[in-house]
């Protein structure tokens, strides 16, 4: 036994010694000193960027980095601030369905020109079913885009995007799209060059040297799971507007570790861990922004054996029994806003914000126990149930710390305010989505972030047969309103219809909004021109500057 283990230990040590030797080489870089006059910023992201292929990437960090190393036809910098990007100017037809973009003289990082053909190729690549892009639905606004992606038509030339010449790109849409300009700044619509993509094959975008850049920065180095280093792109058309020479992005998963790196001056900005927010706020250093995420309870109205889940009055009873203010105060440590309506307050309306043009408050910030009980009485009468404790359900949620705390407080509030005892089921993220897709849940605590700056990104989720409507809820009136809003070219009537739909959803739908998420962060005073967004890249550092 002894000799056996000895031999085992020695073998392990030998094998590992060899491998560890290789590891040394990998970890020896990084200590090199930068030149003094260069301007550098550093920050952390909490996970590796899984993919930087513009048409295949989906996650928030790819969008963040992509914004800096690529450029679409249009660049959005800050809230609704639309700027020309690769397109110098553009015009739209009378029926708002045909857009023509005129490209400027711009170059890829290898010195070749960026052409309209690169955009045509990229858009069709996004929609090509063989690309298997998760975000291909972003291209469904384009004429025949959805049909091509679903294989209903196979001829890519029928797709409504065409390079008329090297400098002119024409895009035909299925319907008028109010937010089409800002959509063109989204990662999925960044150009890629056909010959380069085909040369790289499956390895395209796997490493820093397997990508071409046309944005303000180029990806200099990509040490997977460790750091990304961006450098100013000398070929960028607007390079004089770019002040930063180098951006270091560290991959640090633990929020407390990341925050301590900021405290030690290793990074220039960072999120504040929830537990420390009060302390940092007391020192006057905390900043806040809305990151666009909204969280809500979603009822499964077709749950066998639990008819109360489909009962509109029961859903309202739960909605009024939740004390959103108390939840935000304790779970979120005061960061975030109680959601009293469905549409995210940041989303654009006709001129101002949608919620300013259409003010509305369905739920109260605090629990309204009287109203909740009233609705519960009604529900019990309709369901012919006399004992409220029978109206129980299983609350499905993620396995994170915040999700757990949220579940615990809602569980307790429903017990105190309605006398209903619910059970909590915590599962990993993927398992939650699977249960939702199979509609194998009672009530789920879910979240949604906007794809574009318009209320429609939230409203169209709940139409009958919608890809994300896994509640089983179906309402003809709602469907009609959404369909009208999606096809009309009268944007005022469109907004009215969306507001009607929102009210209908709050009064009769299976959705109970809980909170609009806000993030608390700190940023060094020397950093100027950093912009936060609730849609698109969370941090836009492209025009940032540092003062020495």
């Amino acid at each position: 036994m002894l000799r056996k283990s000895l031999a085992l230990a020695i073998i392990l040590l030998l094998v590992l010694g060899v491998v560890a030797g290789c590891g040394q080489q990998a970890s020896q870089q990084g200590g090199d000193q930068q030149q003094q006059q260069e301007k550098e910023i550093a920050f952390t992201i909490s996970a590796e960027v899984p993919n930087l292929d513009p048409q295949k990437a989906t996650d928030t960090y790819a969008i963040l980095v992509g914004n800096a190393i690529f450029e679409g036809l249009i660049r959005v910098h800050g809230d609704g601030n639309i700027q020309p990007g690769m397109a110098e100017k553009w015009d739209v037809s009378e029926d708002k369905k045909t857009w023509t973009f005129h490209l400027r003289d711009a170059k890829w990082s290898d010195g070749t020109p960026v052409t309209a053909y690169d955009f045509e190729y990229a858009f069709k690549r996004l929609l090509d079913p063989n690309t298997a892009s998760e975000y291909s639905y972003q291209g469904y606004y384009i004429l025949n885009g959805e049909k091509f992606n679903k294989g209903e038509i196979t001829d890519p030339s029928q797709v409504g995007v065409k390079a008329l010449d090297e400098k002119t790109l024409e895009i035909k849409l299925e319907n008028p799209v109010k937010y089409f300009e800002s959509l063109m700044s989204f990662l999925s619509f960044m150009p890629v060059r056909k010959d380069f993509v085909e040369k790289m094959g499956e390895k395209f975008a796997a490493d820093a040297d397997k990508l071409l850049y046309n944005g303000p920065f180029i990806l200099k180095e990509w040490k997977h799971e460790q750091e990304l280093i961006l450098e100013k792109n000398p070929n960028y058309w607007n390079k004089d507007a770019i002040k930063i020479d180098r951006v270091k992005i560290y991959i640090v998963n633990d929020p407390n570790t990341a925050y301590q790196m900021y405290e030690n001056g290793e990074t220039d900005w960072e999120y504040i861990p929830p537990e420390l927010v009060e302390q940092v706020a007391a020192e006057g250093k905390a900043k806040y922004f809305y990151d666009g995420a909204e969280f809500y309870l979603q009822f499964n109205v077709k749950r066998p054996g639990k008819p109360w889940l489909a009962n509109e009055n029961f859903q309202r009873a739960v909605g009024f029994a939740i004390d959103r203010e108390a939840l935000v105060k304790s779970v979120m440590k005061g960061v975030s806003d109680p959601a009293t309506r469905y549409v995210l307050p940041q989303l654009a309306g006709l001129e101002k914000k949608f919620v300013e043009e259409y003010p509305y408050e369905f739920y109260s910030k605090n629990a309204d126990t009287a109203k909740a009980k009233e609705y519960l009485e009604k529900a019990m009468k309709e369901l012919n149930i006399s004992d409220p404790s029978k109206l129980t359900f299983e609350y499905l949620t993620d396995d994170t710390q915040r999700a757990k705390l949220t579940a615990e407080i809602i569980q307790d509030q429903l017990k105190q305010n309605l006398g209903i005892e619910i059970t909590v089921k915590q599962v990993p993220f993927k398992q939650r989505l699977e249960l939702m897709n199979k509609r194998d849940y009672d009530v789920v605590f879910a979240g949604w972030g906007p794809d574009y700056d318009d209320p429609m990104t939230y409203i169209d989720m709940w139409v009958t047969g919608g890809g994300h409507n896994n509640t089983g809820w179906s309402n003809k009136e709602y469907d009609e309103l959404v369909k009208f809003a999606k096809t009309t070219d009268d944007f005022k009537k469109r907004a009215d219809a969306m507001f009607e739909a929102e009210k209908l959803l709050m009064e009769k739908g299976p959705i109970v909004p809980v909170y609009f998420r806000q993030r608390a962060w700190v940023c060094g005073d020397h950093v100027k021109g950093l912009v936060t967004n609730f849609v698109g890249p969370t941090f836009d550092f492209v025009y940032a500057d540092v003062e020495k």
Partner: protein, 309 residues
């Protein structure tokens, strides 16, 4: 050779005769192996301290939550993050729940998981390890390779699968822990049995025609019991740690329940501003570990026949 004056003479002796009743009497009370072990364990002050702490915590886990008027799960946002006070002895947590009540409710979960998982691991490990070591050859090969395989399957897959099949709760967690937890015990027992089975008393038993199961369970296992018991004591902490680790990756017990591991995991995130939220659960985890380790050490000494005097 000369005789001296004080030579031994016959007169100096006296005939006692047979006394049947005294012949069979035992001068000192006979003590069994276990009585002896217990006696020596009692002499080991440090080990006894460990035992007393464990018993104390177990009692507190039962009665502790009822010693305060506050319920372990009732949130109160008017009293969030209160430091320990006369009102809330251990303070309150981030949802305003009383931490005294939560700590002892958490003790129930942690201790139950720890003891249950350790016990089941031991039972399964002893049976399989015993069989493997005793029969050797193909059986042993098969069992040892099975252990290799189980050792290499990612633990989380098994935990998540158990959650899917059995739902959530303490039992599925314990079962998931047991599925891979018995491996160490089995290896240990196998090693012991391999050594013991070459000894003469086993040969004697075989010659007398004892069955395999009799030899394993009446001769081999009892002789390995000391090692088994010590390992059992030590594996309670590891089960408690495993639950804490599962809490770390979000797979621990579900609301409204909590465990020491979960309390400590939340505490570590807040310790810079509210150290008591970390140090209270960490204190109980650490002292439990400490006590069980001390008890284990004491048991090892007490059960070691070589140290018997």
């Amino acid at each position: 050779m000369q005789t001296t004056g004080n030579a031994v003479t016959k007169e100096m002796f006296e005939h006692v005769g047979k006394n049947i009743s005294q012949m069979e009497a035992i001068a000192r009370p006979s003590i069994t192996y276990w009585q002896d072990a217990w006696r020596r364990l009692k002499q080991n002050k440090v080990a006894m301290l460990g035992l007393i702490i464990i018993i104390l915590y177990t009692i507190m886990a039962i009665v502790g939550p009822y010693m305060t008027p506050y319920d372990y799960r009732t949130t109160n946002t008017a009293e969030i993050d209160q430091p320990p006070s006369a009102k809330h002895w251990f303070g309150t947590d981030t949802l305003g729940r009383d931490l005294w009540a939560r700590t002892w409710m958490g003790a129930r979960v942690s201790l139950a998981i720890g003891f249950l998982a350790a016990f089941l691991n031991a039972v399964i490990g002893v049976i399989i390890g015993g069989i493997s070591g005793y029969f050797g050859g193909k059986v042993d090969m098969f069992i040892m390779r099975t252990i290799d395989i189980l050792y290499s399957i990612p633990y989380m897959i098994i935990v998540i699968l158990m959650m899917v099949v059995l739902g959530q709760g303490i039992m599925p967690l314990v079962i998931a822990m047991v599925v891979v937890g018995w491996l160490n015990m089995a290896r240990l027992v196998r090693g012991q049995v391999l050594q013991l089975k070459e000894q003469e008393f086993v040969l004697a038993a075989k010659v007398l025609g004892a069955s395999h199961s009799r030899i394993i369970f009446k001769h081999l296992i009892p002789n390995a019991l000391g090692v088994i018991l010590v390992n059992l004591t030590m594996s309670v902490p590891s089960a408690i740690f495993t639950e804490a680790f599962l809490s770390f990756i979000g797979l621990g017990v579900v609301p409204p329940h909590s465990s020491w591991g979960q309390l400590a995991y939340y505490g570590i995130q807040a310790f810079r501003v509210r150290p008591y939220q970390l140090f209270i659960p960490a204190f109980f985890i650490s002292t439990t570990m400490l006590s069980l380790n001390l008890l284990g050490d004491g048991l090892r000494d007490a059960l070691d026949p070589r140290l018997r005097s």
